[in-house]
Amino acid sequence: MNTIFLLCVLLVLSAVGYRMGKASAVGRQNGGTVRLHSLPSYYGYYVALWCGLPALLLVVLWTASSDWIVKSLVVSALPDEIRALPADKLSLVVTDIRNIAAGNIASAAATPAVQAAVDTYLNLAGMARSAMWLVGLAAAMFGLLLARSHVAPSMRARNRVEGIIGAVLIVCSVIAVLTTVGIVLSLVFEAARFFVAIPAADFLFGLTWSPQTAIRADQVGSSGAFGAVPLFTGTLLIATISMLVAVPVGLMSAVYMADYAPARVRSIAKPLLEILAGIPTVVYGFFGALTVAPFVREAGALAGLEVASQSGLAAGLVMGIMIIPFVSSLSDDVINAVPQSMRDASYGLGATRSETIKKVVLPAALPGIAASVILAFSRALGETMIVVMAAGLAANLTANPLNAVTTVTVHIAALLVGDQEFDSPKTLSAFALGLVLFAVTLALNILAMRIVRKYREQYE
């Protein structure tokens, strides 16, 4: 709240800086005798950026670090006997201090020491807030005045603004890239911790998945089996079923949209099809669990087959429907990208529409279609919600789509839901599964991108 208000103030200051920069540039023209290097507004932007950006940066840094600084100060002010507590107990105390400071209920009644710490905390936090205001406003004013003093008709404001904008864009891209790298690294490190406890070969080739481990030493229970093969096969089974649904339907509807549909039908049907892609997957999950799974079971019963109430088939079918728009809209794009002149050539030789599509359009579009299928497949591998709801959690090793199966993503979700200790193999196995999934999807996406790039070159 406080910070938002400060940000608003900074924004206003920048706007003031803009006006001042512009006015001072115009003013220094000496009534038109001196030519400005840039349009007046660039001088305004120059001052505004110098006023707003450094201040913003400082405020962000301050907000990110002040909590940590305040906490360290509070802890260092605590009596020695509390500071001597083990790390987890100490963090409990700190949490209590925060809770009391925020007016919430704490886990233990406040001892005088804690009460004193709360006062220090409130004190310091208040100081940190004031300091943030002070630092932010000072930086803004300083930037504003400094930049304004630079404004002169000969200053290349336009080029400088361009430079600043370039820098801002670079920073944003770096943030995005670093985040990705950070996520991948944390995945790798946590997975590495898992592989210390469980050999990689057991994980990758083991046939039993049963991650329950004894929590207390005296507990009767399995020591946990982390063979991920049932999860991999379940994932593949469901993804394959979904592709069997999505590829034919998606591809044919793409062909229809691109080459058969009259313009009017296309303009209505294509957005409708794309709405499918906008339905939240959890809604598909309802549909799978409440409609498709019972239907599959009853249909199976009529045919004399025994179908689990949550079957891989049901999940695959629903997922296939979800993926249709991926296949169809990507394929539609590549089919449309096949030049009209190819079609004309074929029609001109007396080919019918379907011959033209089969022999000219689809072969020419094949690489792009392959890429769209691969992307759809990797999407299917990563899907969670539908499987949770329609296929269940039973890690059976089976190729029979009528049985209950489960997937990698579902187990990642199941492993991390609820209270978890972050050092048991059970929890860490989620990272190992995530790493495998990430590696496979990444490989598939790279493959698809390569194919698409090659295909682009063909027509340019």
């Binding site: 009259p262 313009a263 030049p339 002149s341 190819m342 079609r343 004309d344 050539a345 074929s346 029609y347 001109g348 030789l349 007396g350 080919a351 019918t352 011959e355 022999k359 000219v360 072969p363 020419a364 063909q458």
Partner: protein
């Protein structure tokens, strides 16, 4: 090529030829074309003679391509396009309901302004038409057709050692001759060429012109061109279009030396300065 061969369509059904031979291969009477509300061709009457080269000339947008595309009904692919009037091929109404467009296009082939070989091998490009019309079944028959067509298009010597290379890898002029080979592989009776040389350099153009001259003994050829010298060099008859009307059609020599209409005169001399 004798009369029975030229009138045999791809399915093998012989079209009865009224004797004596009609003066015209393609006859248009009062042909009008609309694109939506735009009246693109206004009451065109023309007779296109068999085994001759007829050139269509005229300023851009006057309807040359439009008329050309009427003859093999390529305009059918444009939703807004409406063709009325009487247009006959060998006395048969092209726009009759009973006409099979697929067979019509096998009889009336087309070469486009920009060479558009399929992204397939040279061999596959030429064999495409024969394949879809079932003109051959055995590989050896296809090889025969491909060689004959490529020879007919004057390309055989240049590509005979690399028939499996992609057609898109040829030079522009070679690609255009490949497209001509592809068109003649289905043994059409009429070949329509829409500015076939506009993307070619003078040497490749000379090649194609030579080819057109050689082809006219077997085929009836209609060529759209913006190049007056080209029209004068390759055609026997020339038709001048202006703003959607056919202004005049006559022997090429006459059009270029002594046109009847002053618009024709203006267009031709304007080009030469």
């Amino acid at each position: 090529m004798d009369a029975t061969v030229t009138t045999q369509n791809v399915s093998g059904a012989t079209v009865p030829v009224p004797m004596p031979m009609p003066a015209s291969k393609v006859a248009a009477r009062g042909v009008n074309v609309h694109y939506g509300a735009k009246h693109a061709l206004k009451s065109v009457d023309i007779d296109i003679r068999e085994n001759q080269v007829t050139a269509f000339i005229g300023p851009s947008g006057c309807g040359k391509s439009t008329f050309l595309r009427c003859i093999n009904r390529m305009n059918d692919t444009i939703a807004s396009c409406r063709v009325t009037g009487d247009l006959r091929l060998d006395g048969q109404d092209i726009y009759d309901r009973s006409v099979d467009v697929v067979q019509l296009r096998a009889r009336v082939g087309m070469v486009f302004q920009k060479a558009n070989p399929f992204p397939k091998s040279i061999f596959e490009n030429v064999a495409y038409g024969p394949k879809i019309h079932g003109l051959a079944t055995k590989r050896s028959e296809f090889e025969e057709i491909v060689e004959k067509s490529l020879r007919g298009a004057g390309l055989w010597e240049e590509v005979k050692d690399r028939l499996d290379d992609p057609g898109t890898g040829l030079s522009g002029g070679q690609q255009q001759r490949l497209c001509i080979a592809r068109a003649i592989a289905v043994s059409p009776e009429v070949i329509l060429m829409d500015e076939p040389c506009s993307a070619l350099d003078p040497i490749a153009t000379a090649h194609v012109e030579e080819l057109i001259d050689g082809l006219k003994s077997d085929y009836t050829i209609v060529i759209v061109t913006h190049n007056m010298q080209q029209a004068a060099r390759v055609s026997q008859r020339t038709a001048f279009f202006h703003l959607g009307t056919l202004v005049e059609e006559d022997d090429t020599a006459k059009i270029f030396t002594n046109p009847r209409d002053e618009r024709t005169q203006g267009y031709i001399t304007g080009r030469y300065g």
